[in-house]
Structures are given as C-alpha cells and as structure tokens.
C-alpha cells in the first residue's frame, strides 16, 4: 500500500467545500485594506473533495503501527492501553467547548477537575503542589529548572551547573542548557547505577541540581537514592526527578519520599493519555514546599468549595505556556485516575514490573543482558552477542516490524552499546509477551543462519529501510542552493 501526497492528488479545478456566506453587507477585505496588506499569491493548499480526503487519511492511518493493533514495547515511552472512555470525557461539550477566558464562575467544573488532578498527582509522587501547565516532559523539566534557578536566586545563590547522568534522556541536558545552566555529566557505574564516587567529585556549590530518572533509563532502581539525596542536599543543590519512569512504582514508593524536590510527570506515559504520534502530551511538575512560591501562574486554588485562578504570585517564574496547560489531556488523565483508584494504580505498577521481569527472563538466553536483574518496569538488553554475525540492534528492530511488533527503543541509553530497551507495560497480556519472546528467539536463530535476511528487513511494510545518509545529503544540497528539491516539504514539480 502506498499513498500519494494530498498535493499530488490535488486538481486545480476541484470544487471548493460548501461554506456559509457572510449574509451581511460589508466591504471585502480587498476594498478596505491597502494593497500591500493583501496576499498576492494564493497559498498552494491542495484542492480535493471530502471523499478523497477521508480516503487519503484512512490509508495513511493504515500504514501506522500503533498500540491499538500492535505490541509497542518502546522503552522509556510507556506505551500502554489508552482507555476509550478518556476520549469521551475530553470530548464532552462541557469541557471541549470552554473558552479559556471565560469568567471563573462559569468554569467551576473545569477548575475543580484541575484541582482534584493536582491533589491526586501530589499523592502519587509525594509533593506539596503540582503545576499542570507544562505541555510535555521536556517542557516540565525546563519549568522545574526555571523554578530551581529562581529558588537559588531568591537566596542570593548563583549556581550555574546542573548534573546529568550519562544514561539520562537527551531532554535533560537540553532543558538544563535552555534554562541557562552548564551541564556536567555524571558517570554510571558497572551495576548500571549512578557512580557515587563520580557524583561526589562533580558536586560543588556551583551545582544547582542533579537531574535523575529513577528507575533510571536502564530500568534499574537507584538503590542508593537516599544517600544520593543526602549528598546532593548537603551541597545546597536540589534533586530533580525525571518522571518518565513513574510507571514503575505508583503506590509502591514516591519520589517525594526519596528526597526529590521537583518531579515532572508524563501524563502521556504513566496516565494513559494517548501519544498521538508525537503529542500532545502533558508534563505537570510537582514540587516540595521550598519551590511552591516559584510555581508558574496561575495556580488553581480552592476555598470553601469555590475555585479560583491565582495570578498574584510575586515569586512565580511566570507563565510557561498560554492558558492553563493541555486541559484536554488533563481530563483524560483524571478520568484514568478515577477509574483506577489508588488500588488500581498500585496494581498497574506491580504488573508493569512483573511483565518486564517476565519478558526479560524469556529472552535472557537470546540477547546480552548487560546488567543484573531484577529490573523495574523495563529492561535494556544488547545485541552484542550477535555482533559476530554482523547483526545489530537495528536489524533486530526491523525484523520485529516484519513480525507484526513495533520495535523496542534502540541505541538508548547511550551507555549500553547496541541497546534494546523493552518496556512491556501492564496492559499487554502474557500471551503477547510470549509471542514477542518467540519472535526474538526466531530472529536470533535467523541471525545465526541467515543474517542477510535480517539486514533486508523489513520487507512487509510500505517501504523498506530508508537511506538517511542520502536524505541528509539531499537536504544539504538544497540548503546550499545546489538543488531545487527542498526534501522537507513538497513542491510542485518544476517550481
């Protein structure tokens, strides 16, 4: 199955959609505005009929793997089942139809929902308050670092460095840099945990914060988290929790109790809001009391059952986005939490850990396991055992696609060569895990007998492996004026 671009199907003479007429007497824009205010050339949008458009997007949709149809063991991404009822909740006219500048007395239900969600998230991660404003995890990281920065400044403490483990997700150093910090890397030890010695050596009064994921991106719990917290706090720095892996221990333990001062959560991971092929997500940030004054404005406040938005927060870092966050995603996450309850969330994390360990066990003889278990909600394997056959993590990933599975995260974290990072989540059945393990065994067997076949994978998909190097060259050529093909967009032929 292939599908032309909408632009390629467009016909100039196609009729425009029926739309209402103005029905009032008033001049046209062209009669009122100065000519240089007016558009000269009409935008080259495609011209297609509704049946063609729907067919187009339906066919595109069928070219995707998604958790609706495939096991999607993408490590660090928590691709769990997205309950359909959440979608109905967010689409209720009483939510979807609200203008963000409506008067507060007309949006009490929305504010109540936000307030309750904040309470629930506080309970899950063990913090004092939560801002729901950030749009995604990275945005939350940066928001938290802005608060940490403001906190230190408010104490006249000018700290310039942020520590980030070498196993950290790329957004951590990027967020730190965007927040004006100098990034210092902390090494992992052979057990896959942060090296306390290295941490010790990097801590100093210049350090504003240590950013930590726990379980870390290897799926391993930082056993010495209490010691780490003590060391960090002792230098006056703060401890930041990258909550991408929160699915590992809801109801089992809490970042707040571990000593984290600020915590972001990915509602699009742990709390089942759909990932949408790349967002929208939501990245609320929870903080302990010390950081509360610095929360973005507005916060939601509740007095005698009446809800208000508090814009008067003199120490606030200000706004990190317009309005109040990705409200529609907040509704979905709230709906999930209500349905699961405390008992359900706890069992979800327990099952996530159980599934990861089970699957790890099923494939431990087939792939390298660079670190000892038990793991938490995900594990990182390596295909180095197949290096001899010339088979790489990429080959295994592509071979999985041909077997009707999405691929695990590969080549991340950077500390494991040929990494394969598998996160099964609690919403995949044992039968599915068994089928996946069987596919891995099959692929490993094939690596021994017919590695070329793996290099040729995938074969059953709309396209085979794409030549990224050639693509980069073509972009270069365009950017340097040596080619007319913009690569990054369509252009009518000969334009």
């Amino acid at each position: 199955m292939t599908e032309l671009l909408s632009f390629e199907k467009s016909r100039r003479s196609a009729s425009a959609p029926r739309l209402p007429d103005a029905g009032v007497t008033a001049p046209e824009a062209s009669q009122v505005l100065a000519p240089d205010q007016l558009r000269v050339q009409a935008p080259g949008l495609p011209q297609l009929s509704e049946p063609e458009i729907m067919r187009h997007y339906s066919r595109l949709a069928s070219m995707n793997y998604s958790i609706s149809e495939q096991f999607y063991p993408l490590g660090s991404c928590t691709m769990k089942y997205n309950p359909v009822v959440n979608e109905l909740a967010a689409a209720l006219p009483g939510f979807a139809g609200l203008h963000p500048y409506q008067e507060e007395d007309t949006v009490q239900g929305a504010l109540e929902l936000m307030w309750r969600l904040e309470q629930a998230l506080c309970a899950v991660v063990g913090v004092d308050r939560v801002t729901l404003q950030p749009a995604a995890g990275a945005h939350g990281e940066w928001t938290a670092l802005r608060m940490i920065s403001a906190y230190h400044h408010s104490r006249g403490d000018n700290r310039t460095e942020v520590l980030v483990p070498d196993s950290a997700h790329g957004t951590n150093p990027a967020s730190a840099a965007l927040s004006g910090f100098h990034v210092v890397e902390v090494k992992s030890g052979p057990d896959g945990r942060i090296s306390l010695a290295d941490l010790e050596s990097k801590l100093s009064p210049r350090v504003a914060a240590l950013m930590l994921t726990n379980p870390n991106t290897l799926g391993l719990f930082e056993r010495q988290i209490l010691d780490i917290a003590e060391m960090v706090h002792a230098t006056g720095a703060m401890l930041y929790y990258d909550g991408a892996n929160l699915n590992a221990f809801m109801g089992i333990c809490r970042p707040g109790d571990m000593g984290f001062d600020a915590v972001h959560m990915n509602l699009h991971k742990t709390f089942t809001t759909p990932h949408g092929g790349g967002g929208p997500g939501a990245g609320p940030v929870g903080v302990k009391a010390d950081l509360v004054p610095f929360l973005p404005t507005p916060t939601v406040e509740r007095t005698n059952g009446h809800l208000t938005l508090d814009f008067k927060r003199p120490k606030s870092i200000g706004r990190v986005r317009s309005f109040y966050g990705n409200f529609g995603m907040l509704v979905r996450a709230y709906s999930y939490i209500v349905a699961m309850g405390g008992d359900g969330l706890t069992q979800a994390s327990r099952d996530a850990v159980l599934s990861a360990n089970y699957l790890r066990k099923q494939v431990e003889d087939d792939l390298d396991m660079p670190h000892e278990g038990p793991c938490m909600h995900e594990f990182v394997a390596s295909t180095q055992n197949l290096a001899h056959e010339g088979v790489r993590a990429l080959d295994v990933a592509k071979a999985l696609l041909d077997r009707d599975f999405y691929a695990p995260t590969i080549y991340f974290p950077l500390v494991v060569p040929e990494a394969i990072m598998v996160e099964p989540t609690e919403t995949e059945s044992k039968a599915t895990l068994d089928a996946f393990a069987a596919a891995i065994k099959d692929i490993v067997a094939q690596a021994r007998t017919n590695p070329q076949d793996l290099h040729d994978a995938p074969k059953k998909l709309p396209v085979g492996r794409l030549d990224e190097v050639a693509a980069a060259r073509r972009i270069n050529a365009y950017l340097q004026g040596q080619s007319e093909d913009p690569v990054l967009r369509w252009k009518p032929p000969g334009k």
Binding site: Y57, A89, A138, V463
Partner: protein
Amino acid sequence: MPYLVHSEEDRASMLESIGVRSMDDLLVDIPQSLRLDALELPAGLSEFETMSQIESLAARNRVFPDRLTFRGGGVYRRFIPAAVAAVTSKPEFYTAYTPYQPEASQGTLQAIFEFQTLIAELTALDVANASLYDGATAVAEAAMMAHIQTGRDEVVVSGYLHPEYVEVLRAFCEGRGIKVRKGTRPGPKTAAVIFQQPDFLGLLVDARALTESAHAAGALAIACVDPISLAVLAPPGEYGADIAVGEGQQLGLSPSYGGPHVGFISCRKELVRRLPGRLVGTAYDTQGRRGFNLALAAREQHIRREKATSNICTNHSLCALAASVYMTYMGPQGLRQVAGVSFKRAHALAGRLAALPGWELAFPDRPFFNEFPMRVPKAPAVVRKLARKGILGPLEMRRWFRELNGVLTFTCTEVNDPRALDELVEALQP
C-alpha cells in the same frame, strides 16, 4: 481492575517463570523505608461511575453556543468539519508514538510532511517544522533561533503581542539570559523584532515596515500570525519576514479551555538548521520507493543533548494532523471564504456597535481583520449583561493593559450567523 490484563493465575505463573516467590522479590532494590502501604486515593470506579463523575464536573461549566460567542483573544470558535475528528480519532494515529521506526510509521510521517508543506505554503516561507506546543512557545522558540543565529542577546517586542505570549517569551529568555524589550526600534544588540499580525487587539500592524526596520538593524523579523487571516492578508514570506510562528487552534481544534492546541513555525531556508523540534523529509529505500523519515536530527536533544536547538521531544503531532485535515478540507478557496466571511461580519458588526450610544471604535484609523477593539462606557457591565442573555461577550483589555481601560475586543467568525449579530446588538440596546 480496569485496563489491567493479568489474571491472578497469570501473575502466579509469571512469578514462577521468573523464579521468584513474590512481587517483593522483584522490588528488592527499593529501600524498605521507602515502601508505601497504600496509595492514598479513593478506590477505583466502574466506567459507568467514572463517566458519571466526570459528566457532573462538565455540567458545572457553562458552555456558550458557538454562534453567540464573540470572545477571542487567541482562541476562537470556528466551524470544524466533521472530517477532522474522524481522522484524529483513528487509533492508528492517536495511539502511535513519535515515528522512530519509519517503516512502521509512514502514516504519521507523511501526514507531518504534508503539515510542514501546508504551513510553509500558508506562511509563504521555505520550511516549517512538525509542530510546537502552542503559539506562545512558538514565539519563544523563534526568539531562541534568532539568538543563536545572530549571537545577540536582546529581542524587541513591537506593539500588542498577545500578553501571555510575552510572558512565556520572558520565561524562556530569562533562562538563556536574553533581554526582552518592548518598543519599535531595534538596535545593534537586537536579535529579532517580534510582532503579531493582526495584533492582540485585532488591528493590523505595518508588518512590512517592521520587517524592514529589523533587517536594517541586522536583526531577524519574527511574525506571529493568525493562520486563517493568511488566506487574505500578506503572508510573512511576502513581506520578507525571516520566521513565522503562530497558534493553530483555529485550524480545526476546539477551544478546550485553552489546550491542547498547536504552535507552528516556519522560516527561510537559511535558518532551517536552527529550527526547533521534529522535521520530516523524504527518503528512499533500496527499491527506490519514496518514504518519509525524521530529518536533520542533529539539531535535536536526543543527538545533541545540551547543544540542541531546543529541548522539545514530544510535540503536538495530533493537533498538527487536525490542522492538516482542516486546511486540506478547506483548500485555498475554502480558507479564503472562511476568512472573507469573518472579515465581513466583523466589519458589519463594528459598524453597528459604533452606532450604539457612547460606543466607538477604539482605534478608528487602524484597519482590522475579524477582531476589533471598541471603547465603551461601563465595560464590565457590558460583559455581565451579555452573559445573562446567554452571550459570551467581548474581552476586557483592561485586564492586561491599563491604558486600555474601557476597551473591549469583539471577534466574528463564520459561526456567528447574521441572526447572532442581531441578537448581540439587540442585547446591547440601552
């Protein structure tokens, strides 16, 4: 329990396979002192009860009918073709992740590639990215681009840029140590001049002059634009702006109390390597088949880490998809019709409002598009009065601008039918 899959038997047999006796054996790495007894949240509910609870919250909000909504300020009610939700509610789109495995993600990738082309066409610039969170962060990201590109540490905000965008811009700039200055005159330290067209009050600015003044100072010109207006108004590319950004909510997204919406950004060829976030391009397989793939990843956090152009990872892909369906449904003529109807109705309404006793256009000499500021007596009372009649009235500018006391902005789009304009005007009769 809802959404959980394992039965007690499954759990037992899995534990056995692993070779441990209980879940606790798998949680050994967690210090005992940290272990919780229970999560302090109410017990879970059935779907039926969950939905009842949420419906009762929704019922505590007041939703004004589209046709009687005259409030804008960055979020607008527009006709959303049914096609939009029919596409975005496809699980193959909404339950996929960022397309890391291109062969199994061609649907998402091609859709993004089309979005990029649509935005580039609309803004008349060379290249657009895959989406940003919203209009506010898009402005801020553009400022970061200008800062990196020019090596300068100041941005000038000219005129009435959406006040929340200014706040977000400040927060971003503070991190990077960039100064945000209000004014019109860029100087030698100025990385960019940022303006909004039409501005927050709905008025048209002289985008061409602002762009030229930026360029004259060696700064970039960043235009924050209303995408619908671009069917009629000169697009950034036509007046020489370097970067266009904006909020895409009007392109098929519901107000949803402010989000999720979608930010867009496009730029001249020369700035492409500075773009934040995802970019999709064409690529070919060994059989010569065209496909689509994430491109120029060397700008991004997962490759460049602290040296990335931005920290953005998850963006607003599904909202961009909605916008693509919207723009594709409309086509050039449909978009022009929507823009034209909005323009005409706003002007018809402005004329009728200006005839009310004591009411006048706040800036009678400034042209506007489909949102306009009126100076009126007893502004707060106006809004309250309209609410009583079921109308979501104008926005009070006093909230953000002391100098605009008594100024209200009204918005008209194709959803405000002529009869709705009558109802508004009638409701305002003294």
